[in-house]
């Protein structure tokens, strides 16, 4: 019953979304206040209807209603309650419903918080958000209905993929989706501004908090996913350059560029057309991400061709929104002339460089992700079948291919092709962050920064001297990290002026300044963590008898015993491990190897001893024929810095978001513009 109501609410939401997309847009064009006023109630109604639908699906999962095909496929009566709830979005249909819910949530948020927006801009933003909502609701209803019933309900379900039954991954999708979909707000603001034909400082100020929020959520979502991979997959890898990971990383990079260029629009009325373009591309990458993860195209072109319905629908959404917005952009870009004047050495130029590096880095990730697909499609046949007629494959004609070519682009490519951009970014960041607007003297900034540079160089040389190997990665990473953190500190300190009372002034600095320094320092800490862990981790793989110990990077690991334990919906082999150093016990660790009988899947649950400077990571493997257990153990220096830095970046975003100028702007009710009656 609830399921039918949920389905019905979804259909109603679709109808409301279409109204929301059409009526306010027409009203804004005709300056009809009555029609524009429909935007807010429509956005609220769409959100409430989808929220109801979502609640209905959650109800079905919690009560284990196996008459629903989706619940049968992804749940089990014995599954812990938390994972029954998070199982709602642990599958295609449910996750797309969550996606639609968040699209509607952001649309409604404009209605709630957008009081200071001009009536026409607000109506148009909500309308564009309605279009996005309508597109995804149509996708849900026509290709991915979560409320399909089974004619004969089974006694129990097939269980959720055990890898997803984990707190890290349970909350990874909602954050990621808040980020992906949050970028739809930047997109809606950009398209609305293009329709309005004006982009000014105020627009920059309005669009920035939404971008910042989306970027924060993406940061947290990506960090959660990476942290999960680190402790769950059994060897402590945290980033694999997998297409699905890249799908979330590309919008993150573009969003980072966008939230910097929006500052230039806000403060200096320059980079307008570029910022609009970035806002469109950022959401384009979000949609691409949805397409990549949801269509199955990356797994194989042929898997996609066998079941193309969903993929083609998503591709259509991508094409319509990007095509429409970019067409609008080409017609209106001319009118978005910059006003601000600045010289080659200035904050503006530094932010242009920031944008260039981030955008190129994102594009490198993009081309690496789609390249295998491009090559496979381009080299597949000597002739192309265009339904009506066939033509010879032009790539064969020019001799680029002579047979079908299938290749892989993996981590070694991205490490080589992507990392240099981040190194350059880190090198110039502290300098650019301190340059004043309009016109700057480089020498002045460099004189202020030399202690930070000296410190970074000292750390680099020290690390070089102390390490046993001859890897450049570790020392350079630590050096760059130090440079970023020290540069951020120097930047804050230089804002306190001269003379006495600097500490007091430091405390009273705008939150945006603190946010900037925190986020930049966070980037440095993440970089240092990645470099140190990659360069200096120690691994040991060996067979250990119960009661025996072995040495790992100065620590002693003892396997005290192994026991079998019964979990709620799994069986587990648990190792009892003691970690000690110089005879003193440091920690008791319990690595597990689980088997989920319903899903017929094993998982490894690594045991970690987290420390500020290192993690000890222990995994228990299979029993060996000659007795004993296979064990993998790792010493991972600065591992937690990777995610600690990410949290600092997100925190920096939050601090910036709480800055007075956004709060005041968001809270202030402006008198209605003359000529437009109040609601």
């Amino acid at each position: 019953m609830f399921a039918e109501l949920g389905h019905f609410a979804l259909i109603l939401a679709f109808a409301v979304a279409i109204l929301q997309a059409v009526v306010p847009l027409y009203g804004a064009a005709k300056r009809n206040a009555g029609l524009m006023a429909l935007a807010e109630p429509a956005a609220n109604a769409q959100f409430l209807l989808i929220a109801f639908s979502f609640a209905a699906l959650m109800h079905a999962f919690i009560t284990s209603d196996f008459s629903l095909s989706l619940v049968t496929g992804n749940s089990h009566s014995l599954k812990p309650l938390l994972y029954k709830i998070t199982g709602v979005w642990g599958n295609h249909e449910g996750s797309m419903l969550l996606w639609s819910l968040i699209v509607a949530l952001f649309g409604a948020a404009v209605a709630w918080f957008g009081h200071q927006l001009p009536e026409t801009l607000k109506a148009r933003v909500i309308a564009v958000q309605g279009m996005i909502g309508a597109a995804f609701l149509a996708f849900l209803l026509f290709t991915s209905n979560p409320f399909l019933r089974l004619a004969v309900p089974p006694l129990d379900g097939n269980d959720l993929n055990p890898l997803l039954q984990d707190p890290g991954l349970a909350f990874h999708p909602p954050f990621l989706y808040l980020g992906y979909v949050g970028l739809s707000m930047s997109f809606s603001f950009a398209v609305a501004a293009l329709i309005e034909g004006r982009v000014d400082a105020a627009w920059g100020r309005w669009v920035r908090p939404w971008t910042l929020a989306a970027w924060m959520f993406l940061t947290v979502g990506i960090a959660l996913g990476s942290w999960w991979a680190y402790y769950e997959l059994g060897w402590g890898g945290f980033w694999f350059w997998d297409p699905v990971e890249n799908a979330s990383f590309m919008p993150w990079l573009i969003a980072a560029a966008l939230l910097h260029s929006a500052i230039v629009v806000e403060k200096r009325e320059a980079l307008k057309a570029w910022t609009i373009l970035l806002a469109i591309i950022a959401f384009g990458f979000s949609l691409t991400g949805a397409f990549i993860t949801r269509s199955g195209i990356i797994t194989s072109v042929h898997a996609f061709a066998n079941d193309p319905e969903r993929g083609v629908f998503l591709l259509l959404i991508l094409a319509v929104f990007m095509g429409g917005a970019l067409t609008l952009f080409t017609f209106r870009a001319e009118s978005l002339a910059s006003r601000g004047v600045f010289s080659l050495v200035s904050r503006e130029s530094a932010l242009v460089l920031n944008n260039l590096l981030l955008a190129v880095a994102a594009f490198v990730v993009f081309i690496g992700t789609v390249w295998p697909l491009v090559i496979e499609l381009a080299s597949d046949n000597a002739t192309w079948d265009l339904t009506l007629f066939t033509i010879p494959n032009p790539f064969y004609a020019v001799g680029l291919f002579d047979q079908p070519r299938k290749l892989s682009v993996g981590a070694p490519f991205f490490d080589l092709a992507f990392t240099p951009f981040m190194v350059i970014l880190a090198l110039v960041l502290p300098i650019g962050a301190m340059l004043p607007w309009k016109r700057a003297k480089l020498g002045r900034i460099l004189r202020q920064l030399w202690p930070a540079a000296a410190l970074a160089l000292a750390v680099l040389l020290l690390a070089w001297a102390m390490q046993t190997g001859r890897s450049a990665l570790g020392p350079v990473g630590l050096g760059l990290g130090t440079w970023l953190v020290a540069g951020a500190v120097r930047d804050l300190w230089s804002r306190t002026g001269r003379g006495t009372g600097r500490l007091g002034r430091l405390r009273r600095l705008p939150r945006a300044d603190w946010g900037k320094a925190t986020a930049h320092a966070g980037l440095g800490i993440t970089m240092a963590g990645i470099a140190a862990m990659t360069a200096w981790q120690v691994e040991d793989i060996l067979v250990v008898q119960e009661g025996d110990s072995f040495e790992l990077a100065g620590y002693t690991v003892t396997l005290d015993g192994v026991s079998e334990v019964e979990g709620p919906n799994y069986r587990s082999t648990v190792g009892e491990v003691t970690l000690s150093k110089d005879g003193d016990e440091i920690a008791q660790m319990r690595p597990e190897k689980r088997f989920y009988p319903v899903a017929r899947m094993p998982t490894t649950e690594a045991a970690l001893d987290n420390g500020f400077l290192r993690d000890i990571y222990v995994v228990i493997g299979d029993p060996q024929d000659g007795g004993g257990w296979a064990m993998r153990s790792y010493y991972k220096p600065l591992a937690n810095w990777i995610w600690g830095g990410a949290i600092l970046m997100a925190l920096g975003g939050a601090l910036s978001l709480s800055d007075r100028r956004f709060r005041v702007a968001a809270g202030a009710r402006k008198a209605p513009v003359a000529g437009v009656p109040a609601e």
């Binding site: 200071q116 000014d200 400082a201 105020a202 059994g234 060897w235 694999f240 350059w241 997998d242 297409p243 910059s338 006003r339 601000g340 004047v341 600045f342 080659l344 503006e348 130029s349 242009v352 460089l353 260039l356 590096l357 190129v360 880095a361 594009f363 490198v364 390249w371 090559i375 381009a378 680029l400 299938k406 290749l407 892989s408 682009v409 993996g410 981590a411 070694p412 490519f413 240099p420 793989i541 060996l542 067979v543 250990v544 008898q545 025996d548 110990s549 072995f550 002693t556 005879g583 490894t604 995994v619 493997g621 299979d622 060996q624 004993g628 296979a630 993998r632 007075r660 100028r661 005041v664």
Partner: protein, 167 residues
């Protein structure tokens, strides 16, 4: 406190690996977690080279996993093959060539530079150069723009701006 290392590595002689290979294909029951103790070579230098090579080879039945990290049986076979070639005296490049010959270009996680792939490798640097060129043109134009243009707000724009920017 003496670590009694019951390492099984080296217990299997290189010649016997062919047998192990066949057994591994047959025994698909127990899931293994990436590199197993019995695969590790006695010579740490060779083993280190094997690990490095393995990180660049794709597990053919997985999605974007290298054979070093993969649990699949086929990945184990390839790991053993890499070690067999290394102990037969092959150089790193020869091992990679040997495997590429049998499994195709698809096995390489680091794409070759030949053919159409030059575009893949050159895309980043080319884009950076092109973008830098455009950026410099834009910045120089901003530098030359008359200061008068900056102040050129219409009165109502100025009023609206003041309203918005006053904190």
């Amino acid at each position: 406190m003496r670590g009694l290392r019951a390492r099984v590595r080296g217990a299997i002689q290189p010649r016997a690996w062919i047998l192990v290979l066949c057994l591994a294909v047959a025994a698909v029951t127990t899931p293994a977690v990436a590199v197993q103790p019995d695969e590790i070579m006695q010579d740490p230098a060779l083993e280190a080279r094997a690990r490095e090579i393995s990180k660049g080879l794709r597990c053919l039945v997985c999605r974007n996993e290298n054979i070093d990290d993969s649990n699949a049986d086929l990945a184990r076979d390839l790991r053993l093959l890499v070690r067999e070639r290394l102990s037969a005296g092959d150089s790193d490049a020869e091992v990679v060539d040997y495997i590429t010959e049998r499994y195709g270009e698809y096995v390489l996680l680091k794409p070759l530079t030949g053919g159409a792939n030059w575009l893949l490798w050159a895309a980043g640097p080319l884009l950076l150069l092109g973008g830098a060129g455009l950026a410099i043109v834009y910045i120089r134009r901003r530098g030359r723009a008359s200061v008068a243009a900056e102040g050129a707000l219409s009165p109502e724009e100025q009023a609206r701006l003041d309203e918005i920017l006053k904190d």
